[in-house]
């Protein structure tokens, strides 16, 4: 992700370290010190200040980026809403880490889920390649949609793992992200503006309605940017990925690195003749409801794996949204949806665990009653 940032060469990066996101910005700071980028690097005293500084920079007209995790994301939460409300195209590397308490530095999706209502576009990466590609696409998405984007990646699993990836040449990356040309910005003295004014009861709703329309429109922008990326560089992206879904009857829906593990399980099951498939949502916000429901058409049983719990005494956040998608889908959609909460606080999710899920799905598809919510991997 730092490499992508180097190629993007943003105007400003304001950030505060937190494990496991530190390296992204730390390595980038090294590039700044070595003169490889022309970025104005602002070391701030907290994540709240980091996002505040980013908002200031973006409002002034600078291409702005940052990175954080977990508690840092939580600390800047109020500013995230502000960045989205002010329609500033900030791009953040969000390295998924569990929220305290208990204090835990390992991977789970609770941090990203906490801020899913903030108005930021949320992109989930399965591996290093996706993290890199998503950072580049995020710049284009953010600037076209006029909405901030967080590119997430699994803490430690991906952020601190060794993987091979293909990067673009500096020239290609630079040409792809292009130049930032905001219509209104504070440093434009020809067209002065006021940013961050007060709205009373008579205007707030209208401004929010604009923001709602913007996040709805961003879905097409995401597809357009992905299409351009795929055409130019050969790696295809969409709203989600369908893995061996042709003729599948039992399917897991999972985001992030777990999807990668699940693919191995699917391969194994398919070779044994089991009609298993995988749907890996890439874009969580905006939630591609209709498209996901369409991809799950004809399934006999669906398992949704959530790497966080909503604490709603029900199922996980992704499971909830998938169920809603199926509820609103045409009649005859699969109604057997099992929620699996797994991997909290970095609890390892193994091939055997995923095989267990497919076993449950197999039984469920034959009519056997299965618990609506299961906690995969916890010691009872």
């Amino acid at each position: 992700m730092a490499e992508a940032m180097r190629q993007i060469n943003p105007d400003v990066v304001a950030a505060y370290p937190i494990t496991p996101a530190t390296e992204v910005v730390q390595i980038f700071a090294g590039y700044v010190a070595d003169g490889l980028v022309k970025t104005e690097f602002v070391p701030v005293e907290s994540e709240h200040s980091a996002m505040s500084a980013c908002i200031g920079s973006a409002a002034a007209g600078g291409r702005t980026m940052t990175g954080t995790s977990s508690q840092g994301l939580a600390l800047m939460a109020e500013m995230l809403y502000i960045a989205a409300g002010l329609r500033l195209p900030i791009v953040m590397a969000d390295v998924n880490r569990a929220l305290s308490s208990p204090i835990n530095i390992h991977c789970d999706h609770s941090d990203t889920m906490m801020v899913k209502e903030s108005g930021w576009i949320q992109i989930f990466s399965e591996n290093c390649q996706e993290a890199y590609d998503n950072m580049l696409q995020a710049i284009r998405i953010a600037e076209k949609a006029k909405l901030p984007v967080m590119v997430t990646t699994d803490g430690f699993i991906i952020s601190h793992g060794m993987e091979r990836l293909e990067i673009l040449s500096d020239a290609d990356a630079k040409a792809f992200v292009g130049e930032y040309k905001p219509e209104y910005y504070l440093l434009n003295f020809e067209k002065p503006i006021t940013v961050g004014a007060l709205d009373l009861t008579d205007y707030y709703f209208e401004h929010k309605r604009q923001q709602i329309e913007a996040i709805k429109d961003s879905k097409q922008i995401i597809l357009d940017v992905a299409g351009e990326f795929g055409a130019k560089f050969g790696r295809e992206y969409g709203l989600f990925e369908k893995y061996k879904m042709d003729g599948a009857e039992i399917v897991i829906v999972a985001m992030g690195s777990t999807a990668g593990t699940a693919k191995v399980v699917v391969d194994g099951l398919r070779s044994k003749g089991v009609k298993a498939g995988l749907v890996k949502p890439r874009i969580f916000r905006p939630f591609p409801k209709e498209e996901l429901a369409e991809s799950l058409k004809g399934m006999k049983a669906i398992a949704v794996m959530d790497r966080s719990d909503s604490m709603n005494a029900q199922e996980g956040p992704l499971a909830l949204e998938i169920k809603a998608a199926l509820y609103d889908a045409p009649a005859g959609s699969c109604r057997t949806v099992l929620s699996y909460i797994y991997g909290l606080g970095g609890r390892e999710i193994k091939l055997e665990d995923i095989e267990l899920v497919y076993n449950d799905l197999s039984e469920a598809s034959k009519g056997k009653a299965k618990p609506k919510v299961s906690y995969l991997g916890v010691r009872e």
């Binding site: 209104y184 006021t194 709205d199 205007y203 604009q210 329309e213």
Partner: protein, 118 residues
Amino acid sequence: MSIQNREKKPGWKELPEGDLIIGGGTASGFKTGDWRSKRPIFLKDKCIHCLTCWVYCPDSAIIVQDGKVIGYDYDHCKGCGICYHECPVKGKAIRMISEKEAKAKNTVIAKAEGPKQP
């Protein structure tokens, strides 16, 4: 956004995006003068034009022309009384009267040309 257009307010499609307000100096369009509960009256004959009141006024509501104080911008004066408090003249060159009284008496105070509106 000016608060003068109370009848027909713009819909969400008409507003600039990102709750931006386009244009500079827009605060002068917002008349805060009706917040007053006390009104300062300029006593021209006692004024020594030291401009202390003008320096201290938090709303830039004291009008100065050619280095001399000529009156108040009552559209924006909030009646805080800092000018009265800071006036160094013995007996003060400013008198604070209640806004109710001022309105009742329909006191007309010479209002010189205000700052340029955008």
